[in-house]
Symmetry: C2
Subunit: 303 residues, 2 copies
C-alpha cells in the first residue's frame, strides 16, 4: 500500500547525517508503526553520497533483526549488486529516467545505456532470487528538458515493466504533474499490472501530490511512495521541495476509508522524534503540523 | 472560477496589519492578475477584529476606482449592512456554521438564531439589489464538536441555498475533509445549482485541499475559494493552518487544462511583494515556493 522512501530517498539529500543507530531506530520505528516496505540504503559511492556511506552496516543490522518489513537498497551497477549480495540483502531497487539529460547528469549514462546496466543487474539479482523494484524518474517533467509528453514516457515505463521486476515505481521527480497528466500516462499502461506491479511516486513540490495519488488509486494503482515528514528531494532537480509526506498520505487514505495498516499516532511520533534528531528540522508534512498543533484537542482526526 | 479570500479571510487573522494603501495595492494587484471576485473587508467590530478596522475606507477607495472585479464585504448583522450600504458596497457576504458550538463561540448565536439574522440582512440587501454570498462553515468537522455527518450538514446548506443569494460557499473550516467526505456532501445537494450557485472553500490544514477541489470540480462545482499565499486560518479552530493557497490552485487548474483567467506570474509576484510587506512572512503555498526557487530555470511550469 504505502512504500516508505524516507530512510533512503529522504535522508540521502539531508544535511544532517543520521548515525547508524538512529537509522536503525528509524527503520524499527517505521516497522512498529506498520510500514511493510521501505528503502533503507543505497550501495552507491560513499564519496559522492556520504549520507549513505554506512548502508552496508544498515543492511547487516536490519537483516539480523528480522523485522516484519521488506527493506530495499538502491543498486546503481554490478558493483553495487555485489555489495548488496555480500551483506545478505534480499530486496534491491534499480533506477533510470525518461530524460537523457537527467540521466546524463544523474548517472552519466543515456536512457538506453542505463537499461543495459539494469538488465545486467536484473540477471545477477535473479540468480539470487532478489526482489527487484525499478524506478523511472522524470515521467512528467525534467528540470533540464522541461515537459515530457506521455508518448515519450510510456515506452520507457514499458521497457522497465517488461523486465522480470516485482514493481515499477513511476516518478514525478520535480513535482509538476496534475491529475490530467497522471491520467494520460496511466491510461497508456497495462491496467492489469496496476494492482500488483505498478507504484506511483509523486513529489509535492507544487502541492499536487495527494490529488495525483487519488487519481492513481482510482485507476487501480495500490502502491504509493511517500517519505516520512516529506523529507528529501533531488539535488539534480533545482527547486524540488520534497517527496509526498507519509503522514499526509496516511491521513488522506484513512479519511478516504482506506486502511493502510499504519498506526497514525506512531507514525507522527516517529516523525517528531526524527525532527529532534535532525536539529529540529522543520518537516513539510501539513498533516504532521496539524498533529503536532492540536492532537489533544482534535482526537477525532489527529490520532 | 477562483474566489479570492486573501484580503479579508487571509489578512484578518494575520499579526501584521496592512496599511490602507497596502490593502488597496493588494486588491489592485490581484485584479491586474485577473482575479474577478474577492473578499476585501468586513463590517465587524473594530475592537474585536482590528485588522479589518479600516474596511469602510477600503470600500470607498475600491468603489471609486471602479476596478474590473467584484469586491465582497463580510456583514454579520443589520448594523454591518448599514455600514456597507453607506459606503456604496455592492456585494456582501453572510456567514453561519453547521455546528452550534462553533457558532456560539464565533458569533454568540445558535445556527437557528444566525439564520434569523441572515434572513433580515438578506431582506435589507435585496432592497438595494446587493449581490449576496453565503458561507457555511464547519461542514465536515468542528474543532469543538468533532466530525460532522453529511446528514447534519446538508439541511444547513440547503437552508442557505434556499435564500435568494447569488452563491453558497461550503467550508471545511478546519481542513479535515478528504474526497470521500466531499463526495458524500455534494451528492446530497442539488447538482443543478453547482455551476452557478455553489462554491467550495477548503482549508489545507492536512494537505487535502487540492484533492478535494478536484473532486468538487469533477462533480460540476465551478467556483473554488482560495487565499493568496495560503494566508489565514481561523482563531476559533485551534491548529487550522490556513486556506488553500491561490497559487497552488491556479497552478493545479492550469496543469489540469482549466483556464482560470489568472496570470500566474503576476499572481506569484503579488504574493512575493505581499510577503515583503508583512516582514517577510513565510507563505505556505508550495507552488509559490517552487516559483520563487526556480522560476528562471523551469519556465515551462513556473510562469
Amino acid at each position: 500500500m504505502i512504500f516508505e522512501v524516507g530512510p533512503r530517498d529522504g535522508l540521502q539529500n539531508e544535511k544532517t547525517v543520521l548515525t547508524l543507530a538512529d537509522k536503525i531506530w528509524l527503520c524499527e520505528s517505521l516497522t512498529a508503526a506498520g510500514v511493510k516496505e521501505m528503502e533503507a540504503g543505497a550501495f552507491v559511492r560513499a564519496d559522492k553520497v556520504p549520507t549513505m556511506a554506512d548502508s552496508e552496516d544498515v543492511a547487516v543490522t536490519l537483516e539480523n533483526k528480522r523485522l516484519a518489513a521488506d527493506f530495499y537498497y538502491l543498486v546503481p551497477n554490478l558493483k553495487g549488486l555485489d555489495r548488496a549480495l555480500s551483506k545478505g540483502v534480499r530486496n534491491i531497487a534499480l533506477f533510470t529516467a525518461v530524460s537523457d539529460t537527467f540521466n546524463a547528469k544523474n548517472i552519466g549514462m543515456s536512457v538506453d545505456e542505463s537499461f543495459k546496466v539494469i538488465e545486467e543487474i536484473v540477471k545477477g539479482a535473479q540468480k539470487h532470487k532478489l526482489k527487484i523494484r525499478g524506478y523511472v524518474s522524470t515521467v512528467w517533467g525534467c528540470p533540464f528538458e522541461g515537459r515530457i509528453p506521455a508518448a515519450k514516457a510510456v515506452p520507457v515505463l514499458e521497457r522497465m515493466l517488461n523486465l522480470p521486476i516485482a514493481q515499477l515505481s513511476i516518478g514525478d521527480t520535480i513535482g509538476v504533474a496534475a491529475p490530467k497528466g497522471v491520467k494520460e500516462v496511466l491510461k497508456l499502461l497495462p491496467q492489469s499490472e496496476f494492482k500488483s506491479r505498478v507504484a506511483v511516486h509523486f513529489h509535492d513540490t507544487r502541492g499536487t501530490a495527494l490529488a495525483n495519488a487519488e487519481v492513481a488509486y482510482d485507476m487501480g494503482v495500490r502502491t504509493i511512495d511517500s517519505s516520512l515528514g516529506g523529507l528529501g528531494g533531488c539535488p539534480f532537480a533545482p527547486g524540488a521541495a520534497g517527496n509526498l509526506a507519509t503522514e499526509d498520505l496516511v491521513y488522506f487514505l484513512k479519511e478516504n476509508g482506506v486502511d493502510t495498516g499504519i498506526d497514525y499516532t506512531k507514525l507522527c511520533e516517529t516523525s517528531l522524534k526524527l525532527s529532534q534528531k535532525m536539529s529540529n528540522r522543520a518537516l513539510s508534512s501539513k498533516a504532521l503540523q496539524a498533529y503536532a498543533a492540536n492532537c489533544s484537542k482534535n482526537p477525532v482526526w489527529d490520532k
